[in-house]
Point group: C2
Amino acid sequence: MSSDIDTSADVGEEEARDRLIELASRFYDQFAEGDVPSMELPTRSKSNIVFDEESKVWVLGDRHSTRSANSVGGAKKLLKSIYAVEFLANQLDEDRSSTLRELYYLSESWDNDHAQFSSQDESNQIVEDLEVISGVTREDFHMRPEESGATIMGPLELREQTRRGERVIHCQEDVGEGGYQIPNNPDTIEFLDNDAEFILCVETGGMRDRLVENGFDTDYDSLIVHLKGQPARATRRITKRLHDELDLPVVVFTDGDPWSYRIYGSVAYGSIKSAHLSEYLATPAAQFIGIRPQDIESYDLPSDPLSDSDVNALESELDDPRFQSDFWTEQIELQLDIGKKSEQQALASRGLDFVTDTYLPERLDEMGVI
Amino acid sequence: MSSDIDTSADVGEEEARDRLIELASRFYDQFAEGDVPSMELPTRSKSNIVFDEESKVWVLGDRHSTRSANSVGGAKKLLKSIYAVEFLANQLDEDRSSTLRELYYLSESWDNDHAQFSSQDESNQIVEDLEVISGVTREDFHMRPEESGATIMGPLELREQTRRGERVIHCQEDVGEGGYQIPNNPDTIEFLDNDAEFILCVETGGMRDRLVENGFDTDYDSLIVHLKGQPARATRRITKRLHDELDLPVVVFTDGDPWSYRIYGSVAYGSIKSAHLSEYLATPAAQFIGIRPQDIESYDLPSDPLSDSDVNALESELDDPRFQSDFWTEQIELQLDIGKKSEQQALASRGLDFVTDTYLPERLDEMGVI
């Protein structure tokens, strides 16, 4: 059993189900051989999450721990895992899906009181364990997040497999101003045709709407992906697939503050929380377009002073392996020096079209994207 | 000049522009007659917001205040208003739009330093003043919110007027699992055809996805509107239009706690903050379907104890004119008595289909909706 998540897109319901059953059958074998049931899984504490310099993403380290039924606590955890496996296998059988929160509540209906989850943290944890052990993503278990909700606008035609049949949708011609709504599991999408030159991921709704109003997606043949703040898994996954499958450069456009650099970091390099999924979610080739601290100076943008927590966050980014490049060291040190941060919409101080007529074209040209 | 917002849908760009110019010309006339420029506007403090028993929504009371250039502060406010009027009139002329935040930043480019906004609160305030004085909504000034992002799924075909031309979209057949994305200004939508029996507004994404997965919109011919927590203006507006124009009952489905009752309250009766827009945004005929405190008892739902702030919020709802019905008094007193709250997804403790097979049909039948 591998601890690598299968990154070859959708492993399929049957394969996902088989891996769950295989997991359960290991316990069965252990019982049959008179062994105390146990499972081994990679340690997911912060100390076992390492930045892989080669692939440029966070991955789990080599440390493993064993969860065994030789204590009451361990036995209960294994019991809960088995009930969760049974639920997930049935769900896949019936082609149903559910949310993490539903799983937590649903455990109240299970016939064994000891198998019921005591908190949602516990059920979330067990689903993550199952992801790691089986090498299948939560999406392939048909577990939905509570919210997804990001959108795409641009010259792309896709086919989405929905429960109501296939839908072929062009992300400019077949959608309203709001754009195409990314589904919870973007692996139900097949990219059919596109005229895109690059992908522009945008942090805020206000800026996304500005770019769409100004026709930036048509004028520059770009796919505008709205990140909506810290992006959901579905948004990161579709960004990665657009990059890998359509061979398009990805640029990330956020506010100019340390929290937004982390948004870029999670798109490009993955997050500590989903380190076991980096190869499925992260796009290490994604580049940061701005707002850079040097833009605050060179475009004389309206700014706010850095707060104490901003300064702390910047300082911790100086030590973050994801930001160990000349570019980031220089920019972060500049920002600490000038003591300012700016939002992406601050570009409006130079006029509503400045961002699409001047700022983005200049930056894209500098970066060699256009 | 009226302080009533024009609720007859879109007043149109030309009319909106005319009303702004009329406002500016009043100052011109005042100057010409040698008067100190001033404008009178309804007081928008909490003490002048009253619940109108007849229309069942919050409205502005009769108190007015005068903003005059006879003080430096007053003169600056009027100057800022005039610059904002000029910006908005030009924006309408050019068929552009912008966000409230862009307006704030854009003021930095204005030639008169005294006209620049000192904070975004100030520019937001002035836009609200202009809404009240001109009787035109922000949407008709082409001011966009930062985020909208809610969706519709159900048997409805509509035509949206976008900057790229008209789009005819069926909210089941032409959309992915994510549904139809409501645009920032839903008055660009025309309803063409529908097979809907009622509108079901749903608070959480997890429950919205459950209803869509279980095909509730097809089985019960319902339009599922995702509220996404406290609903955006666009979501409340389209709900009201669906009710008024298609003559469909509206039911609101939220968690069973005092914060969610406020979500229902803002859909049905409007909010204090947007009291000047209640006739444009509120749907007083909207009914609350649940989770009712009595459901927590009768369905034995998993629950959490009420926190102190929950108790305070419930107690203040007992005094809130929006909740002065036998139904709400009884339910709130019951909830204070049992000391529990439940989420809508807690219905999953009875199985994933309980909500669509049992709970909602029973409640809709009781309420006379189906």
